[in-house]
Symmetry: C2
Subunit: 409 residues, 2 copies
C-alpha cells in the first residue's frame, strides 16, 4: 500500500532497487566474509544514464577510480558490482589492477561493455582483495527480479550494519510514472562527505548523465552529506544512480516543468537512506535529527546542525537520556557561524530548554521520558537570519566503543 | 631531586604553583559539590604581570569576561579565585553579576584591588552559582605555602578529572633562578581552542604583561591547543599566568638573550599540563601522542596530528589495541592538507605499518603488545615538506560513554 507524501511523491512500501522498471540484482557469498553474503550486482536491462558522487577523502580507493573512469567514458552504466569485507583502499597499483579485473570479470559475465560497469568496495582498508574468491563469486551471480534478490544484494553490501537499508518512491511526471529505488550500507566512519557509505539508486526516469549528475550533487548536499555517526570520512564512499529511461518520460532537464518533482523524488529517496544509515550508526540506540532555523544562511544552518549532531558530548547525553542542553550551546558556540549569544532558542522535542539564551524551567522527568524515545528531535533557532538546515545522527553508546575497539578482529 | 631536561631547563619533582617564589594558595569545600573541595584561590605576595588566553567558543562564560576586564585594567593580577561544579555559563546578566561578586568578595577578603582579581569557573553550563555558598567559601579561604595547600587547590578545581595536574620547572637566566609552576583541570570537552580546561601558571620571572601575553599565546598554540579528548570546546576554558618578578631577573623581552629559554620553560610547563589532561581524558586508558613530519608547514602538521588523535575510530582502535592503521589514513585523507597519496609512512610505536603508502608486513602480536602499553606514539611522515607538529589525546573507552551519558546526574 503506497504512502502518500505530498501531492506528487508516493512512498512504495518495501520499495527497493527493483521497484523501477528494467533492473535486476543478486547477492552471493563469495567467501570474503566468513558466512554472510559479500558480493552483489545490480544490472540494468539497457544502458542507463549514470552519475555518482565520491568521497572527498584524499586516499580515494581503487574501485572509485575505476567507477569514475567508467562513467567518464560515455556517462552510461549497465552494471554495478560491489563487495564487502575488503575496501581495496591503500592497495596501490595492485589494488587498482584488482578493481579493473573486477570490472572486466563482470563485463564478461554479463556481456556488457567494460566501461558500462561500475565497481564499489567496502570493508577493511589496506588489505588486498582475494581475487580467486572475487572471480568465483562473480561467476556465480545470477540476477533476478524477485524481492528476495534485492534482499540478497542489500545484505551483500553490509559491513557492521545491523539492518538493511532500502527505499522506493514514485511520482507521476507528465502522465508517466517515474520510480526511484535505493539500497545503502554504512554505519561507521560516517561524516561529512560520503563517509564509509555506499548508496545505490535506480530509476526508470529518462534524464541525461549530466543533468542526473547535477541533481545528485544538489541532493546529496542536503541528505547523505548531512549525516554523521563519528566524524570520520572514509576512502570508499560513493552514491551512484542509474537512470535507464524506461519510464519513457520526456527527458528531465532543469527547464522541464517537473524538474523540481524529480529533485524532490531523489531527495526523498536519499534522505530516507541517509536516515536509515544514521539510525543504524554503530552502537546507536536512537536516531537524532537536528534542525537549525534563523541562521545567517542555509550553509551555516546545515553546518551548525551537523556540529550539534556530531558532538560526542551531545551524543553521549542523548544515550543517557540527559537533557544537557549546555552541550548543544557548546557545539553551536565552537563554530564560526554568525550567532547572537543572547538570542538562542533550544528545544529538545516538545520541551523548550533555552529561550533568548536564558534557561527555561522544565521537568527533568518529562525530558528524560522524551529522550528515552527512539527518535530525538533537537530544534535550534538562532534568530539572526533565514537560513535553515537539518542533519541526522545517532547517540554514542557503549556498543559504539565495543564495535570499533576490535573491528578487524 | 630535579630531573635534567636540557642544558637549561630542570624539572622540579612534585613541582606545583607554589614552586616559584611569592605565591600562596588554598582550596576548600564550599558546598557546591557534595563532598569534594570546590573553591580555590592563588595569591601572589605582590601584584604580578599577568596574561591569559580564553576559549574561542562564542558563548564565553561570565567569569572569563570578568577576568578579561581585570587584566585589561593594568595588566596585573594578585589573586585568582576558582570554583568547580558550576560553570556560570549561559547565565545572562545574573551570571555576570555573580562573577563580579566573586571578584569583589575575594578583593575584600584579601585586601586586593578588585581589578587584581581574576575569576574562573568550571562545571555544568546553564545553572546559577549558589552565591551564599560562594560567599561563605571565600570567607573560609586561608592560603598557605605548604605542598598540602597546593593539593587543596589542585583538587578544588577538578570536575570529572581523576587525577590532579601539576608541574614545576626551573631555569637559570643571567644567574637568576627562574621558576614556573602550574596546576590544571580538564578531562572532557577538550579540543582545539581552550576546551573545558583551566590552566594556572605561576612564575617569579620578571616580564611585562604584554610580553607575557605574547609568550603565552605562542606556547598554548603548540601545547594546550594541541590536545583533544572529544572534539568539543567549552564556554569556560582559560589558561592564566601570573609573573610576580620576585626572581629579580632583568625583565624578559623578545630581545633578551634568554627569551628562548623562557619560552622553552613555559612550553615545558604547558606541555606537561596538557599531556596530563590528555592522559586523564574522560574514560582514557592510554595517552596518545601523534607526531607528523614532512608536512607542507608546521600548521598543517599540527592540524593533521590533531585530526588523527581526535578521530573516534582511531581512538576506539587504540582502546581495543587494534593496529587499524587504515583509520589513520582515513583521518589524514579527510583533511585538505597537502599530501601525496603515494608517499605516506605510518608507524605505531616501533612498528612500521605503511611505507610509501604501501602496507608493511608486521606482527599482529607485536602490535597488540605495543598498543596495550599506557603511552602510544603514532608517527606519520608525509614527505611533502618540512612541517612538523605534535598533538596529544587519549583512547575512547566504555567509560567515556558512561561518564558522559549521565554527567549532570
Amino acid at each position: 500500500m503506497p504512502l502518500l507524501l505530498t501531492n506528487k511523491i508516493v512512498e512504495i512500501e518495501n520499495g527497493n532497487i527493483l521497484s523501477p522498471q528494467g533492473f535486476t540484482t543478486a547477492g552471493v557469498h563469495a567467501g570474503l566474509r566468513y558466512a554472510k553474503k559479500d558480493l552483489g550486482v545490480i544490472i540494468s536491462e539497457i544502458p542507463a544514464s549514470s552519475a555518482a558522487v565520491y568521497t572527498t577523502n584524499q586516499f580515494q580507493a581503487a574501485p572509485l577510480k575505476v567507477t569514475q573512469e567508467s562513467i567518464a567514458s560515455e556517462g552510461f552504466l549497465q552494471a554495478v558490482v560491489v563487495n564487502s569485507a575488503c575496501a581495496n583502499a591503500c592497495t596501490g597499483d595492485r589494488g587498482y589492477m584488482d578493481a579493473l579485473k573486477m570490472r572486466s570479470l563482470t563485463s564478461e559475465k554479463f556481456n556488457i561493455k567494460e566501461h558500462y560497469v561500475a565497481v564499489a568496495s567496502t570493508g577493511v582498508i589496506g588489505e588486498y582483495l582475494d581475487m580467486d574468491k572475487i572471480t568465483n563469486g562473480i561467476e556465480s551471480l545470477s540476477p533476478g527480479k524477485l524481492n528476495s534478490d534485492a534482499v540478497d544484494f542489500q545484505t551483500a553490501i553490509l559491513t557492521t550494519d545491523i539492518v538493511m537499508k532500502s527505499c522506493g518512491y514514485t511520482a507521476s511526471i507528465n502522465g508517466r510514472t517515474i520510480t526511484i529505488g535505493g539500497a545503502a550500507k554504512g554505519s561507521g566512519m560516517i561524516h561529512p562527505n560520503m563517509a564509509t557509505m555506499l548508496g545505490f539508486l535506480t530509476t526508470d526516469a529518462a534524464i541525461s548523465s549530466e543533468n542526473l549528475s547535477a541533481a545528485l550533487k544538489n541532493v546529496t548536499t542536503n541528505t547523505f552529506n548531512q549525516i554523521t555517526v563519528d566524524g570520520d570520512t572514509s576512502t570508499n564512499d560513493m552514491v551512484l544512480v542509474m537512470a535507464n529511461g524506461m519510464a519513457e518520460n520526456h527527458p528531465l532537464t532543469p527547464d522541464h516543468p517537473e524538474w523540481e518533482t524529480f529533485i524532490e523524488l531523489l531527495t526523498k529517496a536519499c534522505e530516507k537512506l541517509a536516515k536509515q544509515i544514521a539510525m543504524d550508526g554503530e552502537g546507536a540506540t536512537k536516531l537524532v535529527e537536528v534542525e537549525v532555523l534563523g541562521a545567517k544562511d542555509h550553509e551555516e544552518a546545515k553546518f551548525i546542525a551537523k556540529q550539534i549532531v556530531g558532538s560526542n558530548l551531545v551524543k553521549t547525553a542523548i544515550f543517557g537520556a540527559d537533557a544537557n542542553w549546555g552541550r548543544i550551546i557548546g557545539a553551536i558556540g565552537q563554530t564560526n557561524a554568525l550567532i547572537n549569544p543572547h538570542r538562542v532558542d533550544i528545544a529538545i522535542g516538545p520541551i523548550q530548554m533555552l529561550k533568548n539564551s536564558v534557561p527555561c524551567v522544565f521537568s527533568e522527568n518529562e525530558a528524560r521520558g522524551y529522550l528515552n524515545q527512539p527518535f530525538i528531535k533537537i530544534l535550534v533557532d538562532l534568530h539572526v537570519g533565514n537560513g535553515e538546515g537539518k542533519a541526522w545522527g545517532c547517540d554514542l553508546s557503549y556498543n559504539y566503543v565495543k564495535i570499533n575497539a576490535s573491528y578487524r578482529s
